[in-house]
């Protein structure tokens, strides 16, 4: 294959894929040689889940240009619906079938919630979407904390009060137990499954961005009014991006839920949403490869530097502020450019070289 014949985007995507595959092979080799520490091998599935979360949130924040603060809510929907399915099914189906169906259900459920939230909210501008997604995350957490569902010989019983209100006969067993969540989840997720899902997510997102749909979505981000005036259906494309992003978060939730023995709603709170946002901002908004790297590195780093763990969120907060100030503030940008130019003062050669290369590109 001649790499030069590929377009720039295709080449960049190829690098991303090979990076992920290389990371997978290296970790498998290390695991085979027994070089992975216990804490690190326990982190492998969460890393995959966070990578999927970061990539999918980047679709909303970086590509669509809208802020979602309830991404963990979609993860929660995926986690609960898929874990509910696999616990309810139990051993009735062969494990791989249960796994695939559970993940599909997690993804679809989160996607449906994405549509339900998206239709009313995406008509609104900017700040409102952030606050409504935040509200949505809190609503989901609240409802799941008060949600009881059990199954007995007569079928399913649902309650929003407590376990006794389910009124089940003696064959009944409770599947979702309010704030205690779902217990006894079959821990089917493996690192390989996580890796496959990461690659699947990358294929979906990178192809979406490259497609006609993706370009429409980015045109809305860059100039909504201009996009509308050339006939782009703003609500439709916003909804597509938002739903795909939500569905992928559901997938990440399913993966994560099947690596835990117990799934509880408070694991997927506002703090988790912010953590994912930090991954996206640090990796670069709109930069998918950056999200993958940032999610993986920032999940592993606190494990390696135990003493850093206390200051972790503090440092993240400062990083968020500084990233925005340095990238967006005109004064600080000019200041930095000024310093940069002073360092290169007198070297006309550099400037001429820069001019040559830029004119070369145009020609």
């Amino acid at each position: 294959m001649n790499l030069k014949n590929l377009g720039r985007t295709a080449r960049r995507n190829l690098v991303t894929y090979s990076m992920v595959i290389a990371a997978y092979i290296i970790i498998q080799v290390l695991a085979a040689m027994d070089l992975l520490s216990n804490s690190l091998s326990g982190q492998l599935i969460p890393i995959c889940a966070y990578v999927i979360m970061a990539v999918s949130l980047n679709l909303t924040v970086g590509v669509l240009g809208e802020l979602s603060l309830g991404h963990a809510g979609f993860m929660s929907v995926g986690a609960f619906s898929s874990a509910f399915f696999s616990v309810a099914v139990g051993d009735a189906l062969p494990t791989p079938v249960t796994l695939v169906l559970a993940f599909a259900i997690g993804m679809i459920a989160a996607g449906v919630f994405g549509v339900l939230i998206g239709i009313p909210v995406l008509r609104l501008q900017g700040d409102y979407l952030a606050i409504v997604t935040l509200a949505f995350g809190e609503i989901i957490k609240n409802l799941l904390n008060a949600f009881y569902i059990g199954v007995d010989s007569t079928g399913f019983h649902v309650s929003m009060k407590d376990a006794t209100a389910l009124k089940m006969d003696e064959t009944g067993r409770i599947i979702i137990k309010g704030a205690q969540g779902i217990t006894g989840v079959n821990r089917m997720s493996t690192f390989t499954i996580g890796f496959v899902l990461v690659v699947l997510t990358l294929i979906i997102v990178l192809n979406l961005i490259k497609s006609r749909t993706g370009r429409a979505i980015m045109s809305i981000r860059d100039n909504r009014i201009a996009a509308e005036s050339v006939g782009i259906n703003v609500t439709k494309y916003k909804l597509i991006a938002f739903t795909v992003s939500a569905a992928l978060a559901g997938l990440a939730g399913s993966l994560y839920a099947h690596s835990l023995a117990t799934v509880v709603a408070k694991k997927f709170d506002y703090n988790t949403s912010i953590l994912i946002l930090v991954f996206v901002v640090v990796g670069g908004m709109g930069n998918i490869r950056g999200s993958v790297i940032a999610a993986a590195v920032l999940t592993v780093l606190p494990e390696l530097l135990r003493s850093f763990a206390d200051y972790r969120m503090l440092v993240y907060a400062i990083v968020l502020i500084l990233m925005m100030l340095f990238k967006q503030s005109p004064q600080i940008k000019n200041f930095c450019r000024g310093i940069g130019e002073r360092l290169r003062l007198g070297s006309l050669f550099h400037r001429r070289k820069a001019e040559n290369s830029s004119s070369g590109k145009e020609g």
Partner: protein, 293 residues
């Protein structure tokens, strides 16, 4: 009687929300930004008041004053350092910065004051009010909260509508460029808005902690978000809207806690937000704006 007592408690909680929402709505009206850190300034106010009362042993009024002064300085500093450089940046960047500031305050508080809850001693200490032969009991905190909030709202409304500085604030929120041409110092006006909002947040923090005595680094986050819901409910940018929205939201929260379910009352409050945005995105008293190209 149950209903009446819930109504009074709802109005009391709602008036705290209203005081916080005033800060949100004024900052939004003038700087066109959602100050996520506003809720955490409440928490700082609570801690400062707590520290001055217990560790320093200062009298209650001095402690409240200390909280107001510290929060005002904090608010102005945050605006200068984090928000001012981003005034022309896209709203996404400003929003992320505000979230960063909010997280910074929470985690600094966690490092300084620790994660164990502090039990806040109430700043008011007189007997509860008993009406209808003791069937309706109104605690002193509830009473003081309602009265203090009412005074704040009246004073603020007079300040904005009757003074020169208040008019300057209205002008800046209407049109920044035109205000500048009329000789208004826009930067100073924005700083002043942040100062007033933060001072109100400090008072709200003291009132909130007196009613719910456990103080944590995350104490301010939830009331902050709910107050924002109140501001949107009343129409963001509108001062009377924030007051109405706040009180209504407090009543809705207490009522749903009592009559529906304590566990899902927060979910109901947020559902109100979504419904309001669907039916009337500009809120109860908000101006319907038409977009110009």
């Amino acid at each position: 009687m149950e209903f009446l007592s819930n109504l009074v408690n709802g109005i009391s909680l709602g008036s705290v929300y209203a005081v916080i929402a005033l800060g949100y709505t004024m900052v939004y009206g003038i700087a066109r930004m959602l100050n996520f850190a506003h809720g955490d300034i409440i928490m700082v106010g609570g801690y400062i008041c707590f520290i001055s009362m217990t560790s320093l042993g200062l009298p209650v009024l001095v402690s409240i004053l200390a909280a107001v002064v510290v929060c005002t300085i904090l608010g102005i500093t945050i605006e200068r350092v984090a928000y001012k450089p981003l005034r022309s940046a896209p709203s996404l960047a400003v929003l992320i910065t505000a979230i960063g500031v909010s997280y910074l305050l929470q985690n600094l508080a966690l490092l300084i004051w620790g994660s164990d809850p502090k039990s806040f001693t109430s700043v008011v200490g007189f007997e509860p009010l008993r009406l209808f032969d003791g069937k309706l009991v109104i605690t002193s905190e509830t009473l003081v909260t309602i009265i203090a909030s009412a005074i704040i709202m009246v004073v603020l409304t007079l300040f904005v509508n009757r003074t020169k500085v208040g008019h300057a604030m209205l002008a800046v929120s209407e049109d920044k460029g035109a205000a500048q041409l009329m000789g208004i110092n826009v930067n100073a006006t924005i700083s002043l808005t942040f100062a007033i909002g933060s001072a109100l947040a400090a008072v709200a923090g003291v009132l909130l902690c007196s009613a719910q005595p456990s103080l944590l680094p995350t104490t301010g986050a939830m009331p902050g978000i709910k107050a924002f819901v109140a501001a949107v409910f009343g129409g963001i940018g509108s001062i009377p809207g924030a007051m109405i929205g706040g009180v209504l939201l407090g009543v809705i929260e207490i009522m749903s806690k009592y009559y529906i379910s304590a566990q899902i009352s927060d979910a109901i409050v947020f559902a109100v937000l979504i419904v309001v945005l669907l039916v009337r995105p500009a809120g109860i008293l908000g101006k319907q704006t038409r977009e110009k190209v």
